[in-house]
């Protein structure tokens, strides 16, 4: 079988405007790939299209995930199949308790996979262990989802969800932005703890900094809605030194 995620010739846009102009990208199981690019280059659009947000229209190309046609699946089916998106801007859910949200999500995915659901007691045990590992205060389980969370707390809450849902592919959309160095290390540890032959990640970032802690197998540069260059981890350092300007001309 080929790579876990196979994107070929993907074009997509919104309101008739093309944002992704032809993405080709393979992420094999067990690997972490970084996607870097300037603001507005289409990184979040790529992550939303992969997660199935319906306001983006896919106009061409294909995406296979674990051999299946990802684009034919509903967002919840993609999640059940093991795809997870850590949102650049996590959504607030007033009136929904975080613990209830996490348990509902976990059990929905377990149900879809034919696994038994977790009861409240066992869920809380698991959730408390994970919050501790992520140095999150216990009361974050009691509060409403992302409501009144600081930027860093929201990002950690995304990583907590990833840790609980155990995806095969995690897409992290600028999970590092707005984090101080300690929070960054915690987030990186959370991702590194998942690493293994069954786990892959697409780490979208603006900065080389995160990639010092989550060392990628490959780095891709996204400009103008397509990947203009790919390389090893050293490419990130090169970009840090010289910026995207030269690449934009090459694109």
């Amino acid at each position: 079988m080929g790579a876990l995620l196979q994107i070929a010739g993907l074009t997509a846009g919104i309101d008739g405007r093309e944002i992704l102009t032809g993405i080709d990208l393979d992420v094999p199981a067990g690997e972490v790939h970084a996607v870097m690019g300037p603001n507005g280059s289409g990184k979040s659009t790529l992550s939303y299209v992969l997660a199935g947000r319906e306001d983006y229209a896919v106009t061409g190309g294909s995406v296979r995930f674990g051999g299946a046609d990802l684009l034919a699946m509903a967002p919840e089916e993609r999640a059940a199949a093991g795809l997870f998106l850590a949102f650049q801007y996590p959504v607030e859910l007033p009136g929904v308790g975080n613990a209830n949200f996490l348990r509902t999500a976990l059990n929905a995915i377990r149900r879809a996979r034919g696994e038994p659901e977790l009861d409240a007691v066992n869920f809380l045990k698991l959730a408390r262990a994970e919050t501790k590992r992520l140095s999150m205060p216990d009361d974050m389980l009691k509060r409403n989802v992302n409501v009144g969370f600081s930027g860093g707390e929201k990002k950690r809450n995304e990583v907590l969800q990833m840790a609980l849902l155990r995806p095969r592919l995690a897409i992290l959309d600028e999970t590092d932005s707005g984090l101080d160095i300690d929070a960054l290390k915690i987030v990186a540890d959370g991702v590194n703890a998942q690493r293994g032959p069954e786990f892959a990640a697409l780490v979208i970032t603006h900065y080389q900094r995160l990639l010092d802690y989550i060392v990628p197998d490959r780095v891709h540069v996204l400009i103008g809605g397509r990947i203009v260059r790919s390389g090893g981890p050293e490419l990130a350092h090169e970009l840090e030194a010289s910026g995207y300007a030269g690449l934009a001309e090459a694109a």
Binding site: A51, G52, R53, E54, D55, A74, P75, E76, R78, A79, A80, F84, L85, F87, P90, V91, L93, P94, G95, V96, F101, T104, A105, L106, A108, I109, A112, Q161, L165
Partner: protein, 420 residues
Amino acid sequence: MNALAAGSQGFLARFEGLRDRLPGDPALRAAAAAAFRANGLPGPRDEAWKYTSLRPLAEASFHEPLVPLADCAALLARLPAIEAPRAVFVDGRFRADLSAAPPGVVLDHFAASPDFPGLARPQRDSLVALNTMLAEDGAIVTVPAGVDGGTLMLASLATDTPGRAVAFHPRHVIRLGAGARLTLIEVSVGEGSYLHNPVTEILIAEDAVLTHVRLQDEAARSFHLATLYAEIAARGTYDSFSLTLGARMARSEVHARLAGPGAATHLNAAQLLSGVQHADFTTVVRHDAPGCASRQTVKNVLAGRSRGVFQGRIEVARIAQKTDGYQMNQALLLSPDAEIDCKPELEIFADDVKCSHGATVGELDPAQIFYLRSRGVPEAQARAMLVRAFLESALDAVSHVQARAALDHAVTLWWERQAA
């Protein structure tokens, strides 16, 4: 003759047939009948009925209930599992065999001890005239001064007599002596097609607290038209929450009068409607003494082609200084064909008052739905969670644990009915 006038004829005929056998003061009955004959069913010219038309009621015809020996086991099973004594009415008639009072509470019934405390206004409110004219039974609940009466469930069960829609007009009186307490959980369920037109008069003495939780889960083809009057003496509290789920047409009208200094009332409500349901929550809070507080959070969740109405009027008399009034009305439209009408009214004659009201109308947020779905939660469940979240701040006002659980359960069942 127009439809509304024609609709009142059947009720007047019933009064003529019944008048000699009705319990209580015959002069009061006759006066109510005269008012109903003169005013008929409220119609479009009546400002208080601007958004709710009783034409469907007028076009239906109703019979008197049969002697209710009907087996109501299935309806009893639909009552929430709350550990509390019940006062049970079947088709409007008291069923002593199914009823009991909490310790310290006196439970009587209207047929045996007719009681018109005089809060109701049959001359002004036509449906109250109809009730006053035809009321045959109801709960008469008394909690003596200083007694904590615990919890009582007041259950109305409407049985189905196929082909024979019945009308019943219960008359309830709830009296709390000074410093008394009671939680009254009122549940209305039924089957088939019927009119349930209760009038409830509530008298709360100094320092007494009545917590009133209402769950209206009537049959889909029924009419539920309830009018309630509460008078609250100094430092007393009338704390109410109404959940409306059932009936093709429902109106719950509440007149609360804060009669003594430091009295308080909460008239909270949620209405969950679908199909072609119409439900109207209309309140009039009268601040007649200084330092009283009234609070209202009213939420409508409207699916299908349903229509929700909230009319909230706050009247502040000249002597009612330091009045604290708050009203919030929020609607969630789950379909483009659903509709909400909202009319807040403030009438303030005192100068040192704090009154605020707000209203919002919205839809479910696609970004929130997507966030939940991206976590594996199926779309229908995601929508249900967000509706529940919307209701949360209204339901949170219900602190009685079992009542709250019963409401949560009823909302869940409602949602399952929508999904089915």
